[in-house]
């Protein structure tokens, strides 16, 4: 895109700057639209799982429900509790929202369609997703209220726990792909299994960790069954208790942008990103972005499915799963995968 702006007669730096801004807008604005639609889709899915109708009033089949909600929230008054820490109280939802958008910078949507094609793409994702906890922790503390504070403490412990095993899972993938670059990881999956299936997940050695990654992703985004941070039966609404209006909506948007990001990561790391599922020439006629979005939507369906069917974990079960099961298994898997790759001469 830089060269396009250069052809309009701009200097390189000016063109680069304009191209980057345009790229950010091209990702962020559709993402917001996607979040609005995905919230509607998820509510419809939950309704279907519970044999209800779901939103069906605003617009045809209720598709405009999210926009109606957005408008309502926008017109509400922002209430700031008098005992709260005013500045941090307002910064917290902005942090959650911004961090959720930032990680999309390195996601490749199709071959070469990526805002920042950096060598350490996966590490960048890991770094950014580890920031997600700050929005929750700061909001919990700044609210100066009991339940949000409990929620913040839970969130801090939970996200650190699952990040550890996610890190080891990512190392297995990186060992096999031989690069931290997101596009490189996708390229490495071309014809990976039996020479024609484009997915790490169908490799017998990587399948178990792809399942573990899916579960860890749910825990990392604090989705059901791991939504202990906003468990309404124990903590009212968790860290969002004192929030209203746009601040609340920012948490909501950030959370769903994060969920979409985790779905996209699943698609990229284990299911071949923008590659078609099978390495067969006619399938490459379909643009890569369509394969990628299809994979994201399938992943999102799994997330919604789990959320509507699996009961919530107890907190000690959550911690046990993270530290006593996922951590040892993923650590062992790093040895297993690297041992296998050394044995078969993958690195030579």
């Amino acid at each position: 895109m830089t060269s396009f702006f250069q052809s309009l007669g701009m200097s390189y730096e000016g063109a680069w700057f304009t191209a980057t801004i345009a790229g950010i807008l091209l990702i962020a604005l559709p993402l917001m639209l996607a979040v609005a639609m995905i919230i509607y889709a998820e509510r419809k899915l939950w309704a279907a799982f519970a044999l209800r109708r779901g939103p069906n009033v605003v617009g045809p089949f209720g598709v405009l429900q999210s926009f109606a909600d957005g408008l309502k929230v926008f017109l509400q008054e922002t209430i700031i509790p008098s005992a709260s820490n005013r500045g941090l109280f307002l910064i917290a939802p902005i942090i959650t929202f911004t961090v959720a958008l930032m990680a999309w910078a390195v996601i490749p949507f199709a071959d070469g369609v990526v805002l920042a094609d950096i060598n350490v793409g996966l590490l960048y994702i890991l770094a950014i997703s580890s920031l997600g906890v700050y929005g929750v922790v700061i909001s919990g503390w700044a609210s100066n209220s009991k339940y949000p504070f409990y929620s913040a403490m839970r969130a801090a412990a939970q996200m650190i726990s699952y990040e550890v095993s996610i890190g080891f899972i990512l190392i297995c993938v990186v060992l096999w792909a031989g690069t931290f670059n997101m596009g490189g990881i996708i390229e490495a999956q071309k014809g990976h299994v039996l020479g024609f299936i484009n997915a790490f997940a169908l490799n017998p050695l990587l399948f178990p960790i792809s399942v573990m990654f899916l579960i860890s992703a749910m825990a990392e985004t604090a989705r059901a069954p791991f939504d202990l941070t906003e468990a309404e039966s124990e903590l009212v609404a968790g860290y969002q208790t004192e929030y209203s209006s746009m601040a609340f909506a920012l948490f909501w948007l950030g959370e769903y942008a994060n969920v979409l990001l985790m779905c996209a990561l699943n698609a990229i790391l284990f299911w071949g990103g923008w590659l078609p599922p099978v390495d067969w020439a006619p399938l490459y006629m379909v643009p890569g972005i369509i394969w990628f979005f299809t994979k994201i939507l399938v992943m999102f369906f799994i997330f919604a499915w789990v959320k509507s069917t699996v009961p919530r974990y107890r907190y000690d079960q959550l911690m046990r799963l993270g530290w006593k099961i996922f951590l040892p298994i993923s650590l062992f898997w790093v040895f297993l995968v690297s041992g296998y790759l050394m044995y078969t001469g993958h690195f030579a």
Partner: protein, 206 residues
Amino acid sequence: MIQVISFYLFASILIASAAMVIFARNPVHSVLWLIVAFFNAAGLMVLIGAEFIAMLLVIVYVGAVAVLFLFVVMMLDIDFTELRAGFVKNVPLGLLLAVILVAELILGIGAYRAGAVKLGIPEAGPATVSNSVPNIEAIGNLLYSKYIFLFESAGLILLVAMVGAIVLTHRRSHGTKGQNINSQNMRRPQDATRNVNQPVGQGVEL
């Protein structure tokens, strides 16, 4: 041009937020300023082309260490006025530490410049890194060949610290109830419930 602007931006925010860590009245604010400082340091690392170090800085310090700081600081009930009262008393000690640290830095850099220090395999000079190799590969090649002993011993030191922390905190206390996960997982509906087909008009015998 953009690089120069970003360098001065990162550097000035870094210094300002580092100062705010010390001057903030509330310890929670201090930790948050510390996070801002880490971030801008990572930005500086990116500017000199060390993107791997930058990402590690964010992952390790912002993602883990600062969260734990925040966790602890939020839980503590600190009396700020009492904390401030000790300030004047501790100034000489703090200044002394600062002077020692600066002296050590100067000594270290001076010795390195003089070429007297040889780390790792003795006869080799400073490691050369070409620009074409990605950061991670370059670091990996050096860590696992030239600096393997230093690297491994750093790992051992961390292991010792980890074991020490576990030994210090892991006490088996008496009289506390824990969850027995195995028995919970083995529990079946039949163990806890039973179906009673009770004739109408008679009470259930429990």
